[in-house]
Each structure stands twice: as structure tokens, then as C-alpha cells.
């Protein structure tokens, strides 16, 4: 029995993918510019949208994209700078236009566009986005920019409520043991409500200030 259990463990370990496989960021080329004492980036996270997500821009419900950007030195795990952007889009059914709200870098502005393609571009383009103060990047030192973009992220509170709803209805019985001590978890089927509809992780090429 022990041999069988060991064999099963080994088989599972071999069959399983490495822990980092699904978390590894894709490396993409980005353009960095220094101006007015700040480092800015030009890039796109349009790959966050697949066909269904793109079509869903017409749903009439709000679509939200949250983009977070970290600047690291390549030899240090602590970020030098952090920026977060939130962009929302709602299709107005009666006016047939897309209303967008762009928040981040200390300001907010509303934009109205006429086509879904334009809405996608506004949601996912990083045009001249300030990612760090230039003084924070010593000249010659190698840096990278990590980008995480989430489509319709779910708040921690909402996730907690979902888990709570899922965990109900499995109790009962005469003894506390089964539910209090015995089981590792009180949820027996994980219904996998995701923390976001889609997540895109990118990393820039290494860059430095000359």
C-alpha cells in the first residue's frame, strides 16, 4: 500500500506542471522615455482581451481593466516604483457609444468613442505612462518593468463572500468532530470563481538610463 501511494505521488509530481509555469510573465519589448524627470513607457496589454471579452464590451455592463506596473532593478526583488491604472468601459445601448473612464497617475478623465475597436485601444494602450521618477533609477543600472493587467478583477471582499456562500450547507450531524476538527476544509468543491476574468503578466526587456 505504501509503495502504491508513493508511486501515485511520484506520478502526480511528474505529471504536474512546474509551479511557476502559469505565473511566468511573457517578455515583451517596451519603449521607455525619460522626460521631465520621469520615466515613461509605451506598450500595450491588448492580449488581455480574447474574442469573447472583446465582444463583451457591447454587453452594457461595465468592463474594467486594472493595470499595475512595477519597476525593479534586475538584481533586487524590491520594486523601486509602483503605478496602478484603472480603466472602465460601458456601452450605452441607446446612444451606441462607448463611455470610458481612465483613472491613474493622480487624475481621472472620461472619454467617449464610437467603435468597439477604439474602446479596446483606449482600455489597453499604455501611452507615455509614468512608471518611475528618473532619479530613482541610477544611470547604468539594469532595470525591468513588470506589468500585471487584470480584466474585471474581483475585490477581496467579493471573493470572500463567494467562498462563504460556497461553504454553507455541508454541516450537520450529531458530533462536532467531523466539521470542527476532522476535515481540513469546510468547502468540498471549489467552484473556482476567479480573481479576475483574465490576467496578463508581462515583463519588459532590461533597460537602463545611459
Amino acid at each position: 500500500m505504501r509503495a502504491a501511494a508513493a508511486a501515485a505521488l511520484v506520478a502526480l509530481a511528474v505529471a504536474a506542471r512546474p509551479a511557476h509555469a502559469e505565473d511566468a510573465p511573457a517578455i515583451v519589448g517596451m519603449d521607455f522615455t525619460e522626460r521631465a524627470g520621469a520615466i515613461t513607457v509605451d506598450a500595450s496589454v491588448s492580449r488581455l482581451f480574447d474574442r469573447d471579452a472583446f465582444a463583451n464590451l457591447d454587453s452594457g455592463f461595465r468592463t474594467t481593466v486594472v493595470i499595475r506596473l512595477w519597476v525593479y532593478r534586475v538584481d533586487d526583488a524590491q520594486p523601486i516604483a509602483f503605478t496602478v491604472l484603472r480603466r472602465s468601459c460601458i456601452y450605452q445601448l441607446w446612444d451606441e457609444v462607448y463611455d470610458l473612464r481612465l483613472e491613474g497617475e493622480g487624475r481621472r478623465r472620461d472619454v467617449r468613442v464610437k467603435t468597439r475597436g477604439e474602446a479596446l485601444k483606449v482600455l489597453t494602450s499604455l501611452d507615455d505612462v509614468r512608471v518611475a521618477a528618473a532619479a530613482a533609477l541610477p544611470p547604468g543600472a539594469l532595470h525591468v518593468l513588470a506589468v500585471v493587467a487584470e480584466l474585471n478583477p474581483v475585490s477581496a471582499e467579493t471573493l470572500a463572500e463567494v467562498h462563504r456562500w460556497l461553504s454553507q450547507g455541508t454541516g450537520g450531524g450529531l458530533d462536532r468532530g467531523g466539521s470542527f476538527f476532522g476535515s481540513f476544509v469546510s468547502v468540498f468543491v471549489n467552484l473556482k470563481v476567479p480573481e479576475a476574468d483574465r490576467v496578463l503578466r508581462l515583463r519588459s526587456q532590461r533597460f537602463f538610463r545611459p
Binding site: G60, F61, E150, Q168, G172, G173, F188, N190
Partner: protein, 503 residues
């Protein structure tokens, strides 16, 4: 100054942007990045937004046009009644709200949280007049039969036992959860023992009429045979060293819960139980030294009743309650039985549990601290006392109340002076190290490897080696694999295996 990829077109664009911003073209010329200097360091993968509310931007003003909901169309619900879906939504026809309203945004998650649907999509279409809309809810149903537990194994107490517990979370499409289970344990070699069986039926509603209240009720029947040691050394589990008595339990329990917040729930409950035990006239245990001790089996002979009320609190901040890598879970429970509420046993039980997880190595690994303890006071019936398997994972747990094995706990430290299966005070402290094995499978969603070690204790206040002389304690060890699958959660662990075979 610009610096980036050696890409001619983008360089030109960067220069153009720089010029447009009033920067000189010369200053905007990009500088090629060196090809390969520096160590290859992978930046940490940031946690998703939900993991860290502090990173979220503050909420803004209202966004989106005002709407009037003309109606709600539901598509794809073959077995789930439309009423169940409509009750879950926080809007009704005729209601006015903005397109960005939180109730609209949360509707999808509230429906997914029912556990009845694999996919939920919400869209709008134009209604009867300008500004009016119809909400279209498209669902893809999923199987709602859940395998809660499996019991099987063999021991000297039972040649073999087998059982299962299942739930239907959406009974006849009504949204009501119905569940139940049954266990059968064949007779083993212990004198006066008999085959055992237990069955249970449950019903519950996870959300009563859109409120924060929930309730469950359960009815349980047990035809048992409880073993107890009469002689022999602690490490000798031969059936000849045990005797058994027959009993029968019939009981009901009802619990009402209230969600104080997304993370915290309180609950109150009541239990009524009718016991019928056939106890030996004067049970004794003969120690290896020859000394004979009287045994208290902690039950009334013949019929007796247990009536209790309980109150509890559950706070759970773990992001993933199945394979946690962060967060805390706290559980508190107090239950009291009194003759004044129709019972024959005057007692109280308090229990507490704390699980705390700290992520390490970018959250792919975790360290967990798991504390659990309970104490009974007064004349607690045998089945309400702390059972050995509750504090030591290496011991076969009771199956729906049935004792299916009577193995003593491993005596690693030689500190265990007694061999009672139950005690008045017990607890455990376990430290676990968890390593993420994989995530993202289609049917097997996730897997973690873990190894854990800790200490446990179980004692009676009046026993010679109990509190006055130091609480007897020993070690507990476990390691294995936890899998989160479409069918349920499986633990392939050392302790789990030990609990299913005679050893």
C-alpha cells in the same frame, strides 16, 4: 531622453511623441539596450488585485447612464427554476439604477456562488423606451451532486467499513441543498461487538430570501458498538484486549447562521438526541501491573437524552479555503447541555481553532500554524468528549459517529500513560510547510505538497497523569498531497493512509 528597443519604427514614434511634448528630437533619440549584461533575475510576480485591497484605487463618482430595468430574461436554466435566479439578483423589473451599479456588477458572482452554474454571462438589450433595458442572464448549468466524504478501511475493530456522504446543492432546481450519507462497519474480533451502521439526512438553505441568514437541519441514526480496552499494554491492539458495548443514537440538529461580514459568520444551534446504551455491569481495566481499575464509560445505562444549545463564530480570511497559502481562520464553539432543557446530561463544551498561513517564496509556498483545542465540563456524554482522532490525525477518525478502529496513538515520546479513546481536555498544535505543485488544470484544478509536524495532548482532569502531573502529550507527523478537483478535495497523506489500515 528615450531608451528602449532597437526598433526603428517605435524609435521614430518615440521621437515624435517627444517632439510633440516639446522635447528636443536629439534628446528623444532612443539608446539601444545592452544585450546580455547583468544577472538573470526574474522579478516577483505581483499578487492579483483581489489579494491586496490597499493597491486598489479609490472608488469614483457614478459612472454610466441611468437605466430603467424593464425585465430580466433567463436563458439556459434547464433544471434550476427561474425563481431561484431571480431571488439571487439584487434588482427587479421597474427598478432604476446606473449601468455601473454595484448590484449589477456583483450579479454574476452571486449567481456563480450558488454553485449551480459553470458559466454565467449578463448582457443588456434595449427595452421598451429610451433608457429602458432588459437584463439577459445566460447560464450554463453544472452538476450539483457533491461527494462530501468517503469512508473505508479495515481494523481489528471492524473487518471493513465503507460509506459515503453526498449532497445535492440544488434539489429539484429549488436552490435547497439536500444531503446525506451512510456508513456500514462489519463486526471485528472484539467480544460483545456487533456490526455497526449510521445514516444521516440533511437539508439546508445557504441564503434565506436574499438575507444574510442561512440554516441547516440534520437527522442522524446510529447503531453502534463502542470498544474499550480491558487489559493489555498500550501498544498491543489485539482484539482480545478490548470489549464493546452496544448503543443506539437518534438525533436531530438545527443550526441558523448569520453572516456578520464577508469574512465572519455567527451561528446558533440546538440538538436533541435519544441514546440507548447497553452497558456492562461493572467495566474494569486490568493494567499490565495487575492493578484493576474501574472504568467510566460516560453514558447512562439504558435510554437517556441529550439536549444542547450552541453558539459559534467563524472568521475566515483565507483567499483560498481549499489550498490556503495566506489568511487566517478562527473558529469558536460553545455548546451546553442541561437537564433544564430536557436532557439527562449536565455539561458544557468549548472548542477553538486557529489556522494561520503565511505565504513565502512569492506565495508559491506557505507556512501554516494550526492550533485546535477543546474542553468539556461536567457530565459530558461519551460522544461529546474529545476523541483521540480529533487531536491526532494519525488515528482513524470516527465515521459518522461510529468508532471503527481502536488503535492507540503512536507513543513517540513515551509520555502517554493512559489509553483512553476520549478525554476532557485535548488539543493539537501543528506546523505545516506547503509547496505549490501546480495550478490551472482542467479537472484537477490545483495540487499542493505538504509536510507537517506538531504535538497533541488528550487528558482527563482526574486521571493520575493528567493536569496535576503535566499534560500528557506526544508528536503527530503528516505529509502528502492535497488535490483540488472537480469532484472534490482529496488528501493523499501519510496520516490518512495510516487511518485506514491496521498497523
Amino acid at each position: 531622453m528615450a531608451f528602449g528597443r532597437t526598433h526603428r519604427a517605435r524609435r521614430g514614434l518615440a521621437a515624435a511623441i517627444a517632439l510633440a511634448c516639446g522635447t528636443s528630437a536629439a534628446a528623444a533619440a532612443p539608446t539601444p539596450v545592452p544585450v546580455s549584461p547583468g544577472p538573470a533575475v526574474r522579478p516577483p510576480v505581483p499578487a492579483p488585485l483581489g489579494a491586496n485591497p490597499a493597491l486598489a484605487l479609490p472608488g469614483g463618482d457614478e459612472f454610466g447612464a441611468p437605466l430603467i430595468i424593464d425585465g430580466v430574461e433567463i436563458v439556459g436554466n434547464e433544471s434550476t427554476s427561474a425563481g431561484v435566479i431571480e431571488r439571487t439578483l439584487e434588482f427587479v423589473p421597474g427598478q432604476r439604477m446606473r449601468a455601473d451599479d454595484r448590484r449589477l456588477r456583483l450579479a454574476r458572482y452571486r449567481l456563480l456562488a450558488l454553485g449551480f452554474f459553470r458559466e454565467v454571462a449578463l448582457t443588456m438589450r434595449r427595452g421598451a423606451a429610451r433608457g429602458h433595458v432588459v437584463i439577459v442572464v445566460t447560464v450554463v448549468e453544472r452538476g450539483t451532486v457533491v461527494l462530501n466524504r468517503l469512508w473505508f478501511g479495515t481494523s481489528t475493530t471492524s473487518v471493513g467499513w465503507i460509506g459515503a456522504d453526498v449532497s445535492e446543492r440544488n434539489f429539484l432546481g429549488t436552490g435547497v441543498g439536500v444531503g446525506g450519507g451512510a456508513v456500514y462497519a462489519a463486526r471485528g474480533g472484539i467480544d460483545d461487538s456487533r456490526a455497526q451502521a449510521a445514516a444521516e439526512l440533511r437539508i439546508g438553505v445557504a441564503e434565506v430570501a436574499g438575507t444574510r441568514w442561512s440554516w441547516t437541519a440534520a437527522a442522524t441514526a446510529v447503531r453502534g458498538s463502542e470498544p474499550y480496552r480491558i487489559d493489555g499494554a498500550l501498544d498491543d491492539d489485539a482484539a482480545a484486549h478490548f470489549d464493546a458495548f452496544a448503543y443506539r443514537r437518534l438525533g436531530v440538529r438545527a443550526v441558523a447562521g448569520y453572516d456578520v461580514s464577508a469574512w465572519t459568520r455567527i451561528h446558533v444551534g440546538a440538538r436533541l438526541e435519544d441514546l440507548d446504551a447497553t452497558l456492562p455491569a461493572a467495566p474494569t481495566r486490568t493494567l499490565p501491573s495487575g492493578e484493576v481499575l474501574p472504568l467510566d464509560l460516560h453514558l447512562r445505562d439504558g435510554r437517556s437524552q441529550v439536549a444542547t444549545v450552541s453558539v459559534g463564530l467563524d472568521r475566515d480570511t483565507r483567499r483560498d479555503p481549499v489550498l490556503p497559502h495566506d489568511g487566517t481562520r478562527v473558529q469558536l464553539l460553545a455548546e451546553g447541555g442541561a437537564r433544564a432543557i430536557a436532557g439527562d446530561y449536565h455539561f458544557a463544551t468549548v472548542a477553538a481553532r486557529l489556522d494561520r498561513w503565511w505565504p513565502v517564496r512569492d506565495g508559491t509556498h506557505a507556512v501554516g500554524l494550526r492550533l485546535a483545542g477543546a474542553a468539556t465540563f461536567g457530565d459530558a456524554p461519551r460522544f461529546d468528549r474529545v476523541h483521540l482522532s480529533e487531536v491526532n490525525r494519525m488515528i482513524t477518525p470516527r465515521a459518522m459517529g461510529l468508532t471503527v478502529a481502536s488503535s492507540a496513538a503512536p507513543d513517540f515520546l513515551g509520555t502517554r500513560g493512559e489509553d483512553e479513546a476520549t478525554g476532557e481536555v485535548g488539543g493539537s498544535v501543528v506546523v505545516e510547510y506547503v509547496a505549490r505543485l501546480f495550478r490551472g488544470g482542467r479537472h484537477v484544478f490545483a495540487g499542493d505538497l505538504f509536510v507537517g509536524a506538531g504535538a497533541w495532548a488528550l487528558a482527563n482532569r482526574d486521571s493520575p497523569a493528567a493536569l496535576g502531573d503535566g499534560l500528557p502529550f506526544d508528536l503527530v507527523l503528516d505529509a502528502g498531497l492535497r488535490l483540488d478537483t472537480e469532484l472534490g478535495i482529496f488528501e493523499l497523506t501519510l496520516a490518512n493512509a495510516l487511518g485506514r489500515v491496521a498497523w
